[in-house]
Subunit: 298 residues, 2 copies
């Protein structure tokens, strides 16, 4: 990618794609749909998916998007993945799978050059361990500087999971992925340790990998009574892989609850030294008051 | 708040408010509407606001919510803030201001006890430097354990701002608020330094305070050619306080661009050592490829 310092001075406006792009091109949208079910999808994400001539999405996300009619039912989609809406708008629904990412990105560039809008669907937010960096890397590799790319943000798992347990992210927090597919565990460990020492609330993604190992590292820097929430499939209700749930425990006991860590849809939220529990007649919430602030401070 | 370890074992289900709450109570929703304009609001947030008997929101957010009809026009709201929809549903719109937070929270509890749903509107996500910790602290102070509280997540400024500049958050990142209203600058500095050393992408909130000071701290731990995006009013188009804009510069030069830091709607995204720029025919994007991964890795 360009390291030309001149390029760093570029100021863009909201309507950035208005300049420079050939009029005959569509736009490649990388669209975050949030945790899953359409309830937590933004209006913008829904509109972009509904109006794109090509929609690329995994089987699971297709299922979610059919739930509220954002995509037509599978029964109304032909064997080539073509669905025709009542108003005659023709949409190609492409099944995305892990092994086909490069092929799908190249095909998306071709569609955009043919004048089509393409919605590349990502769960959560497209940036947060999502697909957007891949799209830019592919565009660089293919020298596809003619392709307008727009990212549509979505609710990431940390926010949906936090909402389910209360207000644990009300002070500074960080996200750390436990996936060591693209980098060594040393790098992950360094970040975990720095975040633990400097008292960030820590949200762990990709917890089905090595979550006990991560907990052990944080334990070396924090007290065992720090609160931890294990959240699964936040925002997905019963429609997720394992169903939505949240469980509040402590750092000292978190590693003993691997039965609560159900897979790709699991995040851990590790509170800082100010994070507290609050119980009402319904349930237990997790709350991190900023700077330990009290009601009198408001 | 309870530090009873028994309470940490509470497992809650999605339908948590079904148990324990008196049937005659409403629910207090703390609702994130995202960056501002309804485009980036979730379906859930919109539905909760539309169906609540009382809506508490600042003047600015009321304006945003009237934009797409989520709230009735001001002209159709009487002097007591009461608006009556076509279907006869009566809604009280309460103007939230900084000095009235305690009073508004107490009034909200009373409304909930009268059986009304209350939507307490927060910009962005209610947890991310938002209002949700205040609500829980107030409920604790007032021993209001009978009030069901539900947090509705929203798109926070980091995600909206990142989407506007490309894909800068594709590896681990953290949020740090530069507001020292509730805590000392020492704490902020410690977190900034830890995040800088351990190579997190760093998103700064409340940049109208001391952003140059924060940049100087990060500069002590990172190279001056690290990329920085200054994003304003992300997701608000022309409707924000100063209008949506984004500007890409470097860590070495970021402090010289205070003309780009327009106020409360400004965030800074400080890239890590892998963050790169990519130019197409339209504009310059900022991208953080995970673990420096390349196309061949997919």
């Amino acid at each position: 990618m360009s390291s030309d310092t001149e390029s760093t001075e570029a100021e863009t406006t909201t309507d950035a794609t208005a300049d420079g792009t050939p009029d005959d091109h569509g736009t490649l949208y990388v669209v975050g749909i949030g945790p899953g079910l359409p309830d937590h999808m933004t209006k913008r994400a829904k509109e972009v998916i509904e109006s794109s001539e090509v929609v690329i999405a995994s089987s699971l996300y297709q299922e979610f998007l059919r739930d509220d009619g954002t995509l037509l039912p599978e029964a109304e989609t032909d064997e080539d993945g073509i669905a025709i809406r009542d108003d005659g708008f023709e949409q190609e629904i492409v099944r995305s799978t892990m092994g086909r990412q490069i092929e799908l990105a190249r095909a998306a560039f071709d569609h955009v050059r043919e004048g089509k809008d393409v919605a590349h669907v990502s769960g959560g937010d497209p940036s947060v361990y999502g697909k957007s960096d891949l799209i830019f890397k592919m565009a660089e590799e293919d020298d596809a500087t003619d392709i307008p790319i727009e990212i549509v943000p979505g609710i990431t798992a940390a926010l949906a999971g936090a909402a389910n347990v209360g207000a644990p992210l009300c002070n500074d927090f960080c996200m750390v992925s436990l996936s060591d597919k693209w980098r060594g565990w040393d790098e992950i460990e360094e970040k975990l340790r720095a975040a633990a020492i400097s008292d960030f609330v820590i949200v762990l993604y990709n917890c089905w990998r090595n979550y006990e190992k991560a907990v052990e590292i944080v334990r070396e820097e924090r007290t065992d009574d720090a609160y931890v929430a294990i959240v699964n499939d936040a925002g997905r209700a019963d429609a997720g892989r394992n169903g939505e749930s949240q469980f509040v425990t402590t750092l000292g006991e978190a590693a003993d609850h691997d039965d609560k860590v159900s897979g790709m849809g699991t995040s851990l939220i590790i509170g800082n030294h100010e994070t507290e529990t609050w119980r009402n007649d319904d349930r237990t919430y997790l709350v991190t008051p900023r700077g330990g602030r009290d009601v009198d401070d408001f």
